[in-house]
């Protein structure tokens, strides 16, 4: 059990000079109140720095050490900082001092490379040598599991990734959970025993090579073991590569998630650019059509007289056509002896024919070429006037103008929107964002290739083992009792390996059940929603809320996510071999008063020592005192002395 007794910070962030806080050695909650920019996150980072030498900035990225030193001190020409932690662990008192100072010879550091970080660890007053100190810190609080002791709301949000089996961040958290729960004790034992088993098998092969009767089989077995060693080495290398690539992918995923809004704005801007291009083309086309239409637009002014003329001409055309047709009939009747009247179908008499000829004579002009001529001319004029009448269609012209105006309105709107987006994106490094995306895609391709390589290597190792087992059986038959010692060693290692393999599976299952039960217990105490019955755990320790009707709650708010994550942390604290204080930065920012009250009330059951870094609106002192009562072990304020100087002051109100 790790318990922090005191924290001393010197020139760390806004904490100018040496400032100290001594925490109660009794179980309970200590609260530090500070408004924004007063140094709550710096306090969390000070503890993190003491244990691991690292400082985490916004977005989970490592922060620059050069920027951590107190700014007022820096302006006085004094660089560097120091954190001292006094803590108790497993019955021993420790003092851990970690400092960051300019390298010898560097008077005005310019970056992280100009600093050197050193640490000293004493146990019960005895200074430990560097390797021993490193090992001791690794035992007390391994860096991989520090996230379960030192965290903020942002880190809690990452726990949602545990629900996705595809997420690399989820895989990393899941591994860290297994680490805090002690699973590596078993997995490491299993790995050591596998190596011991293979070594024992190799010893059998060597023994067989020394005997004439078994030499051939021994040689084959030896060769297979040599091959397997190479394959195992390949596998280890590939798995390390995969781990690095997955870590890269997780950090790129995280970087993309942080820039999600920016990426969305950039996508929107690009979509607007494309839409503006299309609209510009459409507007140009409309302008061309209007230009063509305007060439004959004058016709619209004459449309009324044109229509009158057209009507008159059509009437005249009809008259002429009738007259021409009539004249043609008369001509036939006048010239054809056998002609019949087209109306009564009677034979035409000579007298009638004579009258027809007379009538023809009277209509000579009309029936002659002059009428034909007039009709032809009339039709030409009709066609020309009709074209003008069509071109003079003001409705079509109006539609074209309307369409152009609409396109221009759209263009204006979209250009304004795009210009606004451009203003918002002025300081955005698009190249960096593009690089993140392209690196992400390239990393996925590399992961795919490495995973295929691993699968292939594993298949080769399996084949190799099958061959080796086969030869081993033949060797056992042939050798009789000759290699009994080596065979006993091999069988012992194989049995132990099998035992621990089974233990890993069983222990993981037990842990999942225990974590699920404890997380549910915490969750029911924390949530204000009475219809939520329990939490269900998946293989990666992701927790799903289950409604009292038995259905899963598919979508949860950031606040609910927060509550589930806290429930998981409480459950891990309950079940982990490594136990320590929970130090949380701004844990209630996303929560309503009901949840805040529930969490404050439940905190003492989640860990023995809890340190809260909060602002007063997030956790009003009255609420903390009312809910924690006897479990409230101390209150401090992060008091502003200047923009660059905060003082840690014990609260007396």
């Amino acid at each position: 059990m790790l318990q922090i007794k005191a924290l001393h910070v010197t020139d760390f962030g806004p904490f100018k000079g040496r400032q100290s806080v001594r925490l109660s050695d009794k179980d309970g909650v200590s609260v530090f109140y500070g408004e924004n920019m007063r140094g709550k996150t710096s306090l969390l980072n000070a503890i993190r720095f003491a244990f691991s030498g690292k400082i985490i900035g916004r977005g989970g990225r490592p922060a620059s050490l050069h920027k951590v030193g107190n700014w007022e001190r820096v302006s006085e020409g004094k660089y560097g900082f120091e954190v001292e932690l006094e803590f108790r662990h497993d019955g021993h008192d420790f003092s851990l001092i970690r400092s960051c100072r300019p390298r010898p010879g560097v008077e005005a550091p310019m970056g992280d490379d100009d600093y050197t970080v050193e640490f000293y660890l004493t146990r019960d007053g005895d200074v430990l040598g560097p390797p021993q100190a490193e090992a001791e810190l690794q035992r007390i609080l391994p860096e991989q599991i520090a996230r379960f002791f030192l965290f903020d709301g942002e880190l809690l949000q990452e726990y949602e990734d545990l629900l996705s089996s595809e997420s690399d961040m989820g895989r990393r958290i899941s591994e860290a959970i297994e680490r805090i729960l002690g699973v590596p004790v078993l997995t490491n034992a299993r790995a050591s025993l596998l190596r011991a088993k293979e070594k024992a098998e190799k010893r059998v092969a060597l023994a067989a090579q020394g005997d004439q009767k078994t030499r051939e089989l021994g040689n084959q077995l030896g060769d297979l073991h040599d091959q397997r060693e190479v394959l195992n080495a390949d596998l280890v290398r590939l798995e390390r590569d995969l781990e690095v690539l997955r870590a890269t992918k997780a950090s790129l995923e995280e970087a993309m998630r942080k820039r999600e809004r920016i990426a969305a704005l950039l996508d929107k801007r690009d979509a607007l650019e494309r839409a503006i291009g299309d609209l510009e083309l459409r507007a140009a086309d409309k302008r061309r059509q209007i230009g063509e239409a305007m060439a004959s637009a004058w016709c619209a002014l004459l449309i009324a007289p044109i229509r009158i003329s057209l009507a008159q001409m059509k009437k005249r055309e009809t008259e002429l056509q009738t007259a021409i047709a009539r004249a043609e009939v008369l001509r036939i009747l006048a010239t054809d002896d056998q002609a019949e009247c087209p109306t009564c179908l009677q034979q035409i008499s000579a007298q009638a024919r004579w009258r027809v000829q007379e009538a023809l004579e009277r209509q000579r002009d009309l029936a002659g070429g002059a009428a034909e001529h007039e009709v032809t001319a009339l039709r030409r004029r009709l066609e020309a006037l009709s074209q003008h009448a069509e071109a003079a269609n003001p409705t079509a012209l109006r539609l074209l103008w309307d369409s152009l105006e609409e396109a221009e309105r759209d263009l204006y709107g979209k250009r304004s929107e795009r210009d606004e987006l451009k203003r918002q994106l002025e300081d955005v490094d698009e190249e960096a964002l593009r690089k993140i995306r392209s690196d992400f895609e390239s990393t996925i391709r590399q992961i795919d290739a490495v995973e295929r390589g691993i699968a292939d290597t594993r298949r080769q190792i399996d084949d190799n083992k099958k061959f080796a087992e086969n030869i081993q059986r033949r060797l056992d038959k042939l050798a009789g009792a000759n290699f009994d010692d080596e065979r006993r060693r091999r069988e012992l290692c194989a049995d132990l390996h099998q035992l621990f393999d089974e233990a890993v599976r069983v222990y993981r299952e037990q842990l999942r059940k225990r974590v699920e039960a404890d997380a549910t217990r915490h969750f029911r105490a924390l949530t204000t929603e009475q219809d939520y019955a329990r939490l269900r755990i998946n293989d990666s320790y992701g927790l799903t809320i289950v409604h009292k009707d038995g259905t899963d709650v598919p979508v949860r708010s950031a606040g609910a996510e927060h509550v589930v994550a806290l429930s998981l942390i409480g459950a891990l604290q309950n079940n982990a071999p490594l136990r320590g204080p929970i130090i949380i930065d701004s844990p209630f920012g996303r929560l309503d008063e009901g949840h805040t009250t529930n969490i404050v009330r439940a905190l003492p059951s989640m860990a023995r020592q809890i340190v809260l870094l909060v602002y007063e609106d997030e956790l009003p002192p009255k609420l903390a005192r009312g809910e924690l009562r006897g479990k409230l072990r101390g209150e401090w304020s992060l008091a502003r002395r200047s923009a660059r100087f905060t003082e840690l002051v014990a609260r007396k109100d």
């Binding site: 179980d27 490491n188 025993l193 011991a196 035992l499 089974e502 233990a503 023995r608």
Partner: protein, 69 residues
């Protein structure tokens, strides 16, 4: 002690030992309990390196085979 806490590291480690011991009794009763406990204990040190573990395991197995434990 706060409610719900398993009290100390030793108690928690016991849960691990008990799990392994139960499997040993059920399926690997021919394996020596003390041998299994030593293997587990060796790997309970988070600061141990791979070579430390390999060396320690060799010693445990050697001692067992020679009838030491």
């Amino acid at each position: 002690m706060a409610d719900g806490f398993v009290d100390d590291q030793a108690t928690r480690a016991t849960a691990l030992f008990e799990t392994v011991e139960r499997i040993r009794v059920e399926r690997f009763s021919h394996l020596d309990a003390e041998l299994v406990r030593r293997v587990l204990q060796l790997h309970a040190d988070p600061a141990a390196s791979e070579s430390d573990l390999a060396r320690g395991l060799d010693q445990i197995i050697e001692r067992h085979l020679s009838g030491g434990a």
